[in-house]
Amino acid sequence: MIELVSPSRCIDCNKCVEVCPTNVFDEVPGGHPVIARQQDCQTCFMCEAHCPVDALFVAPLAEPAPEGSAYRDEDALAAAGRLGEYREWIGWGKGRRPGSLRDRNGELTELASAHLTQRFQ
């Protein structure tokens, strides 16, 4: 679930409000958007993908992170390279190549079935 809108990174573009498929955020006039309905978050990471400044962190948990969790600690998350991680993989952002160019799902089916066939014969 969404745990963080970084006040130091957020530029108030409200892209997260706009794109969230489950309407989790609220716009705040003159301020950063807020996580208004965390319980509606479906942990789909789409807001992270669309945030232009890597200001959001969605924890991998299906429930809110416990009090004091490292998933809520911006400094720790930033130091561990966790902010903007999804955008790096999908290659979104200035100067990046789309990650889909390295997608090998098409070959995967063939490779995997060959491998598994071998293993179980």
Binding site: E18, P21, T43, F45, L61, W89, G99, S100, N105
Partner: protein, 544 residues
């Protein structure tokens, strides 16, 4: 409001008043099926409005998940062999004509994606690999194409009810703008395409929470028939701490019991052993140790969204054991939905078309799950067919008449009346439905006794709680709750009407397939739910 949103809203005012728009074709739902439908309709010159509960570009299971398409070149007998394989796997509830046109249409439309600039990879031989679509990239592109085609997009605007004319033809819909104080909107249209997705009962399955069966309810209120609703018991494997249900990587999994001993359940085939173990209340752990080391880097780039939650949790799926659970994906990965009765994905209600997961996919999946390429191809093709047919219908019929009726908003069983005077909190109804459809021992491992018990516990809230839903604060959530009760009742009535086990529909009291039941089952009704067998699948197909 950002500039981009203003563009998407087109001519819609941003005040708190009621929006009223006119269109030739109204598309409800903006995932793959809805965007393909909108594009197909706009290509014919139709004026198109596309309304989505969420945001066109992130909404729908595909945006978060991605699609591997059923994608077979027209070489020799490859397509025909693929069709026959599908018939076999779907236990002969498919329709050969639909399978043939699906494989052909999907191939052609994927060519459109290439032309529009989807960044496809090339393989070692330098050939473009076009069968896989990564969700964020795919749906960002579809949004761009829809806007370029002049479609008016209403984001964050869930539809609530369909509008009929005096002839019973669907001529529009009403809804609310949920980010503008639930201000109402009305779109009058020559025809409507439903592309609102399946129903995963707010289980949290990846990208599936917007899929609450809203379209099924709206259509059923006008008497639409459904089909294949017994094929609704699909669960996705997910980490115990999360709900990320991408399944493909588990073909490399070994599963372990609570003592960390391997259980006899490797790869995909082990899914039932895992499910039975979990249903018995014992933990199951997984590790993707069958993935060849040389392939692991490629796996990451192929499905970064699979690895993301584990990376964040500090788990290396190839070397660490992690606890798993099964998360309901209902009729998203399962395949029941509105019956389609014509080549243009017509429903049984005139003027109403169904595309993507809101439609029954039985014609092309039979009794098998729609995950793993069926549904992705179906969304593209059915969207294209429905959008084209709806535009043609609207053109033939001319301007929509001014006199129209919205189904009685206060009538029993529809939930979320506009007066919003009810006292039942939507979340309570959702919790009651989830208690019947989410447990493995109720939905995956079905018995007549269990189904009847669940139905009794679902019929009661339909009669009592649903008409009393409080829609004053969040009308869309009241409708979602009502839609899920209706959905569960169709699922379990249909499951009772199929006393056999057939691929994804399992009856523990009837563990074998019964040849006499090689036919599709229609279901419908709200206050009174009915089922009946559809006309038998063609003899020639059964014989082959």
């Amino acid at each position: 409001m950002s500039r981009r949103r203003a563009t998407a809203l087109g001519g819609v005012g941003t005040g708190g008043g009621s929006d009223a728009l006119d269109a030739d074709v109204l598309v409800l739902g903006g995932g793959p099926a809805g965007t393909w439908a909108a594009l197909a309709a706009a290509t014919t010159g139709a004026r198109v409005v596309l309304a989505d509960k969420g945001f066109v570009g992130t909404s729908g299971a595909a945006a978060a998940g991605g699609n591997n398409l059923w994608y077979v070149p027209d070489e020799g007998d490859r397509r025909e062999r693929a069709v026959r394989a599908r018939e076999e796997r779907g236990a002969h509830l498919t329709d050969r004509t639909w399978l043939r046109r699906l494989v052909a249409e999907t191939w052609d439309r994927v060519g459109d994606l290439e032309a529009w600039g989807y960044p496809y990879p090339t393989d070692a031989a330098g050939r473009l690999r076009r069968s896989s679509l990564q969700g964020p990239e795919y749906m960002r592109l579809m949004r761009r194409q829809v806007l370029r085609a002049g479609v008016t997009v209403l984001d964050q605007s869930p539809a609530q009810r369909l509008v009929q004319d005096a002839d019973g033809v669907v001529v529009g819909a009403t809804g609310v703008h949920r980010q503008r104080g639930n201000a109402p909107w009305t779109v009058r249209a020559g025809a409507v395409v439903l592309a609102t997705g399946g129903c995963a009962f707010l289980s949290g399955a990846l990208g599936c929470n917007p899929d609450t069966g809203d379209g099924h309810l709206m259509a059923a209120e006008l008497g639409a028939e459904l089909s294949g609703m017994e094929f609704s018991s699909v669960y996705g494997m997910a980490p115990a701490f999360g709900a990320q249900t991408k399944g493909r990587m588990y073909q490399f999994a070994t599963y372990y019991d609570g003592d960390r001993n391997p259980v006899d359940a490797a790869g995909f085939s082990g899914r039932e052993v895992v499910a039975r173990t979990l249903a018995a209340g014992s933990p199951v752990y997984a590790r993707l140790d069958l993935a060849p080391p040389a392939l692991r880097e490629a796996l990451r780039w192929s499905q970064p969204n699979f690895f993301l939650p584990y990376d964040k949790a500090g788990i290396d799926v190839f070397t660490d054991l992690f606890e798993v659970r099964l998360v309901l994906e209902g009729t998203v990965r399962g395949t029941g939905g509105l019956a389609v009765v014509g080549d243009g994905c017509e429903t049984t209600v005139p003027g109403l078309y169904a595309a993507g997961d809101v439609a029954s996919r039985e014609l092309v999946t039979g009794a098998v799950s729609g995950g793993g390429s069926h549904n992705g191809a179906w969304a593209i093709s059915s969207g294209t067919w429905a959008g084209t047919a709806a535009a043609s219908f609207a053109r033939r019929r001319g301007p929509a008449p001014r006199a129209t009726t919205v189904p009685d908003e206060g009538r029993a069983g529809t939930g979320g009346s506009s007066s919003g005077r009810g006292t039942t909190v939507p979340r309570e109804v959702v919790r009651d439905v989830q208690a019947e459809v989410i447990p493995l021992e109720r939905n995956l491992f079905r018995t007549e006794h269990g189904l009847r018990g669940s139905l009794a516990r679902l019929d009661a809230p339909w009669a009592d709680a649903v008409p009393d839903l409080d829609a004053s604060a969040e009308p869309a959530k009241a409708r979602e709750a009502a839609a899920m009760v209706a959905h569960a009742r169709w699922m379990y009535r249909a499951a009772l009407a199929r006393p056999e086990s057939r691929v994804i529909h399992r009856r523990d009291d009837h563990p074998d397939l019964d040849e006499r039941l090689t036919h599709r089952i229609r279901v419908g009704g709200l206050d009174e739910v009915w089922t009946r067998p559809e006309v038998p699948v063609r003899e020639e197909e059964r014989a082959s």
